[in-house]
Symmetry: C2
């Protein structure tokens, strides 16, 4: 069935079931001019949005509609994770070419609903409109946290340790495989594609860090390690030193690198879309912070460097030499 | 200057000034993963979103970038007005073709900032991405109200009076003039174009109605009078009767109709984008309700019909005959 046959309202009818995964606090979801929820007291709200445009952020033949729906929500949840918050309420705007199959959009919503259910997020409504040619997805997300729990980009101080909560570079390798820029050994290609197409937002990790009160700054890696660390440095008025040998690479990425001519560190530093957390921690808190991750299996915490007073990002090579890094991350307009 | 030259981050730098019009409650606006505000207590939050797509919702040569920015925010504010709420916080997502002039986007933001300042709304952030060809705007808006003030679509009951807070059809006439489907007398063309391109969201009117506690249901007219009244009827499980002679038409629309072959009532009933409020009021409250508008200049309140138990919308013609109405409003996918 084509979208032009079912129409906007028919479509809304078809997708509005299962949008509420927890009734608590929801006064009105889909079906009115605005969604209404609350009342609130004693907590602050987190409000974020992300737009995904076909042929810019995704290629329709490189992931399933289900994965696209999952990922569109995941990248927003990751922003809430990066503040240490709980995700709560979502609005979904879709611009859909009239020739699009309704089944495709329903699969898209299935992916969205599944990830929302997984993280107990309520879809409260949105806007569904026509598009001349490209599929456009905009997600708006509200979360909350105790005011004192929220972790900003601006809190990093000289001497702080820099941690990552997972490996970097796999997602970027997945994109290169999807674009046929790398030919992986058969056994590991699907690993990278899965990491790229089905990111897992680190909500629970973000909450553990936030409630511990031990982090000085936090960000999720969406643009790439150097670019996102650069955001922390800029907002905090500091610089950073990274240890080249400490950048965490998956065994799959090392294997891939050994079979191809790509330098895995290039993907790790500038690749983007890792959706893990970069955390800075005052040196005095670093031991307690590391203890938070001790009981985790797998133990996903890597010390990769230190915040420095001097601006800029430098990297310490294995031979002890230091090089200034040219910060390049994913920039939507400068290629 | 082209957008490809300034880049995403340069652009964000260039527009992030003046986004905060009132510091009260704002903990973090532009510059982090999420915006943070609050804490809240005792009030409920209203959360709405709207997407505007080039060549679907607007034609670039038919309104200025400033007007486009104004209108993109206005249609969202109108949704808050329709619940009786106060608008508070906004996120702006833009997908911008790389060849777009930065000045155009800055003018767009000027329109957005001016209307936000006018209604004391804070722009807290957003997402700026590339687009292959079309300009896409998505606005997410949070408002609040006391829980008992909020007016839903679902509260209309048989016997309730139906009111409009302004004229209908002018915006639709403006669109037809812009598309060269109507040639107006020189003296009045600009009136319709202004109504279409620079809608005024009725926040204050919505607040007066909400705080009075006298309305049973409310909606803003975006799809068209019949379509939006149809939403009220559907959500409330009722029907409606409209008096043809009571549908409020501006003197300009009457003049336009006398000079062209268009029936002004067609525009008034099915035109859309009026952004006035349709309000239903229990008969026992109707006199008090009308008093709310007595001191207004101009007095913008028109009694246009009554809610009925029988489903469907009927219209009473001037000769007393009654006809069943085929509900046609603006539907994005069925033409």
């Amino acid at each position: 069935m084509k979208f032009s046959e079912i129409g906007e309202f028919g479509f809304i009818e078809s997708i509005k079931k299962e949008c509420i995964t927890s009734l608590k606090g929801v006064i009105k979801g889909i079906g009115d001019d605005c969604a209404v929820f609350g009342p609130y007291s004693g907590r602050v709200l987190l409000f974020t949005t992300d737009m995904l445009v076909e042929d810019i952020h995704f290629l329709r033949d490189k992931l399933t509609p289900y994965q696209l729906g999952w990922k569109a929500i995941a990248v927003n949840l990751s922003d809430i994770a990066a503040m240490g918050g709980r995700p709560l309420y979502i609005l979904i705007s879709l611009a859909i070419p009239a020739k699009t199959n309704v089944e495709l959009i329903q699969d898209l919503y299935k992916g969205m609903k599944d990830i929302c259910e997984h993280y107990t997020v309520n879809i409260l409504g949105g806007d569904t409109v026509a598009s001349p040619d490209k599929l456009i997805i905009n997600i708006s997300l509200i979360g909350d946290a105790k005011e004192e729990e929220v972790i900003y980009r601006s809190g990093a101080r000289s001497g702080d340790k820099i941690y990552l909560t997972g490996n970097v570079g796999d997602s970027s390798a997945g994109l290169k495989i999807l674009k046929n820029e790398i030919s992986p050994p058969n056994s590991i290609g699907s690993h990278f594609i899965k990491v790229h197409n089905e990111p897992e937002p680190l909500i629970e990790t973000g909450r553990i860090i936030a409630t511990s009160g031990l982090a000085s700054a936090m960000i999720d890696l969406s643009d790439g390690l150097l670019s996102d660390l650069g955001h922390i440095c800029k907002e905090s008025g500091v610089g950073a030193m990274l240890f080249r040998s400490k950048i965490p690479l998956s065994s799959e990425l090392k294997l891939l690198a050994s079979r191809t001519r790509f330098n895995p560190l290039d993907l790790a530093l500038s690749g983007g879309e890792d959706y893990i957390l970069l955390v800075t921690v005052h040196e005095a808190n670093s031991k307690d912070f590391e203890l938070l991750f001790k009981d985790k299996r797998p133990s996903l915490l890597y010390l990769i460097g230190e915040i420095r007073e001097e601006e800029g990002i430098r990297i310490v090579n294995d031979d002890g030499s230091i090089e200034e890094i040219d910060i390049r991350g994913f920039n939507h307009f400068i290629s």
